[in-house]
Symmetry: C2
Subunit: 881 residues, 2 copies
């Protein structure tokens, strides 16, 4: 007895997404809450997986389950599959657990053949409709199931139009369509060596297999990779009786969101086309009507739609994305799902649903995908900039972008990988363009509406998009676009504003983002919920202020080396490094001291009342020196051309010094606290600068919380030695200045040995800060600079690693060390504060891991602070005990 592979819609429910896919589960749910849903059944994802594990066999026992289900559909529709009088027609659609819009295949009107087409014509009293449906079915079936390229069918259609001397498909006569049908069948015979299958049962079997196959088409694979959807969960197949939106002017089809997917505004938002099939709306070929127009067109249907849409939203407790069809004045619901939305819409919807009492604050928090917030936290067009607006389209996906225009997804990808900023400009986009959209800064199309492919995908990816900008005339052959008579060749720089639909000449100045009121409210809720504190990485007062504005609760990492890189200081820094004696070095350091003091004064002042963790000098000293290769070239030239021997000698001496400091593996070399151990005078200067700045601020009445962080510790003795040096300096400064202040001394945990011996190190540290960039490098033996360019792409492609470990924290390796570090450190020092300041501190999954480890804080770049606040709250909500 085989598994249950087939579920009638009424046998399923919303929670069965794993088995029935998102679409199937929702169709079942809608059916069960009494909505008008065309009857049908779902073939489970398990059947798809069985198909793959058996190497492409039709799963055993599946057919025996499909037959009675089909019988059930026949019964409820009163039609019979293959009945030449009044045939049952079905759609066959994919539907995975996670929505993958347009990625997999769909076949409509299945069940038509040379006999049943006549029955359809008779029962609908519409010959043209019947033959148009038949030719559409053959075309879809030929393309999807039999894998005959699209353009063969288009050529026949074009020939028919040219014969009849008309422009549009819809103008083709019934006779023309009959001719097309015959030509299509000949094409199929020619391409496959077999006739078009007339037997509906055979059509169904082949269609189901084709949907299974489409799970692994190239588009779907890319989409899953981008969206981190597992490859092994498979798709379900939904077989559903057809309803027709193209049965005349009392028929139609549309899609609608219960709230705006762009802004989140509570209002029906959608489009429909009368006398059209569903794919006409989604594909963006005809520009549809806004949903509001339906009220004029047919108030009864509109009111019914509004009522059911509202019921659906209440039932699912989220904004819904609904597909509907009107067949001869009767409304059917074909699909509903939680609607994809922009980040601002996600926030507004979540906050308003909470205000409406539909969801709790905790739920509102988890409704936002933190990765999406990026788009809110980056720059937008400066409202005060003078803009030369060339055209206006639909504001399809918010955000602004500038870049060189390209007309092809491959070009976009190629240039994008070379670091160029590009705008992908297309008449419309298709799922084949995904890689180009991914690589582009923004998308601009001349056709298609707010729910067109380009718009949906762009919103989901957080890319700015302007769609349906009809002023654009694209010439793919000449690689240019003409806008109001002016021709702009490929490579011209344009900007788009996805919030207003404007297309602007040239690059446009951008300004820093601000948080919307809803976002601020949501973050307040997040703050109430989260356990992790959120600090920011900032090296100067400006960034510190920005971090504070975004809600940072302190500075978790103030790097001091950036201060050394200031062009005015680099000569003094070089003087210090090249010193031959301690005296020389101390002289150079004494010049740096007042500069560093001012740095710290500014940053401590900006963060008054909050902790500021300052890391002492970390990078290898030779980073501040001239490049060896440049010197070698210079010297070789001097030698060949016979330069002044004195100058040559000097240059050679410099080269020797630089070379002496050069390292084979600087990442594992003379850096971090190793500098403090070998040149204590450098750390002493930095500590003095911190404490002198502190003393000044205390005298001026500011509340300050300086914390000194020692980098790259591997042994407790390093920390003991450098802690003592810091404390001695603090005592000396307090005595000199006659003030007193509190401070902490802690350490980075960024080398495996530090984590492994945290029970020693923890005894002399006030805090630990996991430096997960370095810790990832040493734990995996990956030099980030080398890995990302050389072998990491292959590791991700071949799925040796599921994620880039520098982006998403490697829980099994690095995470295990962190866990040990936290446990061992707290065992010997229960008061130990533990945080993270690597880039992972701003990445949601890594933040969740930090929450699970029981860290006290995460620290990330200022622009990621809101994201981290939200992710920290989500971590709490999603991991309640």
């Amino acid at each position: 007895m085989s598994k249950k592979y087939v579920y009638l819609f009424r046998e399923g429910k919303a929670s069965m997404r794993d088995l029935l896919g998102g679409k199937g589960a929702n169709l079942a749910e809608m059916t069960n809450i009494g909505l008008p849903v065309p009857s049908g059944f779902t073939i489970t994802t398990e059947a798809c997986n069985e198909y793959y594990t058996t190497g492409g066999q039709f799963p055993e026992g599946l057919w025996d389950q499909i037959k009675p289900a089909l019988g059930n559909v026949e019964e409820s529709t009163g039609k019979t599959f293959g009945n030449p009088e009044d045939p049952l027609l079905v759609s066959v659609r994919s539907g995975a657990k996670f929505s993958m819009p347009g990625m997999m295949d769909t076949i409509l009107n299945l069940g038509l053949n040379d006999q049943t087409v006549r029955g359809l014509a008779h029962s609908t009293q519409n010959d043209r409709f019947a033959y148009d449906s038949y030719r559409r079915f053959i075309q879809m079936f030929g393309n999807v199931v039999l894998e005959i390229e699209h353009h063969f069918f288009e050529a026949i259609l074009d020939e028919a139009k040219s014969k009849q001397a008309v422009t549009y498909d819809s103008e083709l006569s019934t006779d023309s369509l009959k001719w097309v049908v015959e030509e299509y069948k000949k094409l199929i015979q020619k391409e496959t060596g077999k006739p078009f299958p007339q037997e509906p049962i055979q059509q169904l079997e082949q269609a189901v297999l084709a949907v299974f196959r489409s799970w692994n088409n190239d588009r779907a694979i890319v989409y899953r990779k981008i969206n981190a959807i597992p490859d092994d969960i498979g798709t379900a197949v939904n077989v559903q009786s057809m309803v027709f939106g193209n049965m005349g002017n009392d028929s139609g089809t549309g899609v609608a969101f219960t709230r705006s997917p762009s802004t989140g505004e509570k209002a029906l938002f959608g489009e429909y086309l009368m006398n059209a099939q569903g794919e006409d709306v989604v594909a963006g070929i005809r520009t549809p009507q806004p949903i509001k127009s339906l009220e004029q067109e047919n108030k009864a249907i509109y009111d019914q739609f509004v009522d059911i849409a509202s019921r659906l939203e209440n039932h699912y407790r989220d904004m819904q994305d609904i597909e509907f069809t009107i067949e001869k004045g009767r409304l059917f619901f074909l699909q509903t799902r939680n609607g994809k939305r922009t980040a601002p819409a996600a926030i507004r919807v979540a906050v308003e649903l909470c205000h409406e009492g539909l969801i709790t604050k905790e739920e509102a928090i988890t409704r936002i995908e933190p990765g999406q917030l990026d788009q809110l936290l980056h720059r937008r067009m400066d409202a005060n900039a003078k803009l030369e607006v060339l055209a206006k389209g639909l504001p399809a996906s918010p955000g602004a972008a500038s870049g060189k225009i390209v007309f092809d997804a491959d070009d976009a990808e190629r240039l994008g990988h070379n670091g160029e900023k590009v705008i992908l400009l297309r008449t419309e986009t298709t799922p084949d363009d995904i890689h180009g959209i991914l690589a582009a800064q923004g998308i601009l199309t001349s056709r298609g509406g707010m729910t067109s492919h380009a718009a949906v995908v762009a919103r989901h990816m957080g890319k700015p998009a302007v769609c349906g900008c009809e002023a654009l005339k694209i010439d793919y052959t000449e690689h240019n676009v003409s806008i109001n008579g002016v021709v702009y060749p490929e490579g011209t720089e344009l900007s788009i504003d996805g919030a207003t639909g404007r297309v602007i000449k040239g690059a446009v100045p951008m300004i820093d983002p601000e948080l919307s009121e809803e976002f601020k409210e949501l973050l307040t809720w997040a703050d109430e919920i989260r356990k992790l504190r959120v600090l920011a990485n900032a090296d100067n007062p400006k960034d510190a202020q920005k971090a504070r504005d975004f809600g940072a609760q302190g500075i978790g990492l103030c790097r001091t080396e950036h201060m050394f890189m200031d062009p005015a200081r680099i000569p003094i820094v070089q003087e210090m490094i090249l010193s031959q004696t301690l005296e020389e070095r101390e002289l150079a350091l004494s010049k740096l001291l007042p500069m560093q003091e001012d740095d710290f004064y500014g940053i401590l002042k900006a963060m008054t009342g909050l902790p500021v963790i300052i890391r002492l000098l970390d990078p290898p000293l030779h980073e501040f020196l001239p490049n060896v290769e440049d010197l070698v070239v210079e010297i070789t030239k001097m030698k060949v051309t016979g330069a002044n021997p004195e100058e040559l000698k000097e240059k050679e001496a410099l080269l020797r010094k630089v070379r002496a400091l050069a390292e084979l593996n600087p990442m594992l070399g003379h850096r971090g606290c190793r500098l403090g151990v070998t040149f204590p005078e450098i750390y002493a200067m930095q500590a003095r600068a911190i404490f002198q700045a502190s003393a000044r601020l205390v005298k001026e009445g500011f509340e300050i919380h300086p914390e000194v962080m020692i980098p790259l510790v591997i042994h407790v003795k390093e920390l003991e030695m450098l802690r003592k040096l810091t404390e001695d300096t603090a005592q000396a400064v307090m005595k000199e200045q006659g003030v007193s202040f509190k401070y902490k001394v802690g350490t980075m945990i960024e080398v495996p040995r530090a984590a492994l011996t945290a029970d020693e190190i923890g005894k002399v540290a006030d805090f630990f800060s996991f430096g997960t960039n370095d810790l990832t490098q040493t734990t995996l033996g990956f030099s980030r600079d080398d890995a990302e360019g050389k072998f990491l792409p292959a590791y991700l492609d071949k799925k040796v690693l599921a994620q880039n470990p520098f982006a998403v924290l490697d829980r099994d390796g690095v995470g295990k060390l962190m866990k040990m570090g936290v446990k061992l450190g707290r065992e010997v020092n229960p008061e130990l504060e533990v945080g993270i300041c690597g880039e992972h501190g701003g990445e949601p999954s890594s933040i969740e891991f930090c929450h699970l480890l029981g860290l006290n804080y995460v620290s990330c770049s200022p622009f990621r602070v809101p994201l981290a606040r939200l992710a920290a709250a989500q971590a709490k909500v999603n991991n309640q005990d």
Copy 2:
């Protein structure tokens, strides 16, 4: 009530070394077994430590304990301290837990003053002896306690000799000596502003303090560093009634070993001088008589000595190093201790003591310090070489050395640090020369015997030494040496043979060592005892054979990259690396295949019957390419001089390719199995070469055990992928060749993540091999190349690290990861074989750690195999549960 700081000799015993020091404990033990030991007492090491913790105070309550102890000595000698008639005189000597010969201070004849000297003269009926003793005492006290430089005293002595017109000290008359005493006292008044202390009690107090101080003199600190003796254990002070070897020709003093410290031969081995104090023998100023001569001189004393020496050896169950004095025909034992010995002697003594039934095999094993074995396992002079022997001295420390002669310890150190091989040539050495001896290849002295400072220190350090070579006339001013009339300036190359005493002109060819019969026997015992198997690292059949001869039980690491470096192959290797396509690369690989097959054929054949673990390619590919800087120089020259544009273009193209492969941190870059993941064809070629060689050998009837090792694994998926590739290749080769053989596939554990996820990796590995060189680099974040040149010396100096972690395994950090790796791996795979193949596999303390971890084997360089066999057995013996 203060601690017990003072122990009479009869209150102590041998096991109280921590408290009483080695010398004190032995004096106590000798006293208690009834030997003639001059009476005395020991001030404990705790008193010394108390002195240091209180910042140099005379420990409270110590004096109250010294007084009664002194009273006890007075009682047993019948003499009184400070008695002007018949004064008690004492020696005050240092004595730490571990012997530090000549490093700390000693004062003899304490108790003499202007009154008691007359009493001594009277009681001994020897004015000259009394005043000579007094002047020696003042000189020693002045130098050691009052810190007046030696040469001031020498100048006065020289003046006296010149006044009296004699050459030697011993020719000075009583009057001259009285004059010297007066001048010494004036010198002391002048230098210290105070008179020489006449009060014996005061003398004693100051002498005790001086011994405490001498624990931290520069010589002692250096010695402890070299010998890894802790700095905080302090020295004891032994106060003992004086006996005099210089009371005339019926008096004498000497040192003797119960067996030869050079060869281990069972025969008394030592020297004595009549009418001399002990330091005359040790200092090497007069060349003493061999101990055997004492038999003629005084058979009764000799027989008594032989008898007691034998009793001491039986009592201590080890070869003894004995100091004795004959005072007016009466024998006293001043010291006994386990004698220092060369490695061959250590082995012979241990084996013979075991044969004699004095010690067990387990004890014999632990009597050898594995570090010492180095000298046995390195090269010695080729007996067939034609040698120009210039002179002959005493064979003071075995082994042979060649080098440039230098006449000063500082020069030896300076040149030695620059990598020069030097022979330190001195009249005699003193403790101040330690740093020079350490830096030299060998030691050559013109004076002093087999127990002179140079000889003792050289034997202990395992350095070759020839002593007492009186043919040498050294001119320190002109920096040359004349031998039989020929002058050799500084920098002349000479050789010495410490086994025969020969001094040879020029450098001498050396040959590989062989194991002595005793050593072989000892190693058989070690093999019976040890749990760890010992394998060797070898990359070619010659090394493999050597390893086998030394007892290796297989090859634990056969690196394949050395094979790539062969000059005949490097062009093909470069061709492979620079290939633009898979086809090009496979073509180059197909040329390498037969070469690699031959490599593996040879090594598998040499190790027939034993496992051979072959590691697939590990280093970054750019290591096989030309150097970027060289190319840059070449190109710059071509540009400046206007070379052929075609050639320039080609060079520039090469540079681009080399640069593209260059890495910022090659240690953490594209290497190890990352090469196998990105270029599976390389690993496939290597696997094929291994299996084709295996197939050939099987057909030829050899028993082979190939094991394929995948380097640098961080994730189980790498190993899964490459294991499959290996297995597929093996299957293919077996099928092609029609033979079958067994093989294993395992992995290096050399990156922290591998150890942390060993519970995953262990599932698909037949064996783990800890690559502790790399594991140390990543666990500590230390690039070995950079660390050892830049900051590691400072880390060792400042005692941040106790040991170089690349030499001695870091148990707390790296070791913790190893422990996890073993535990996790065996949990999922109880059959897992675990070993180590880093350099630590040949280091005794690291081998012990491997034993404690329960590893199956260690693998080390062929020359270290005997050491590893022994160390593994010691680890077992020393860690019995």
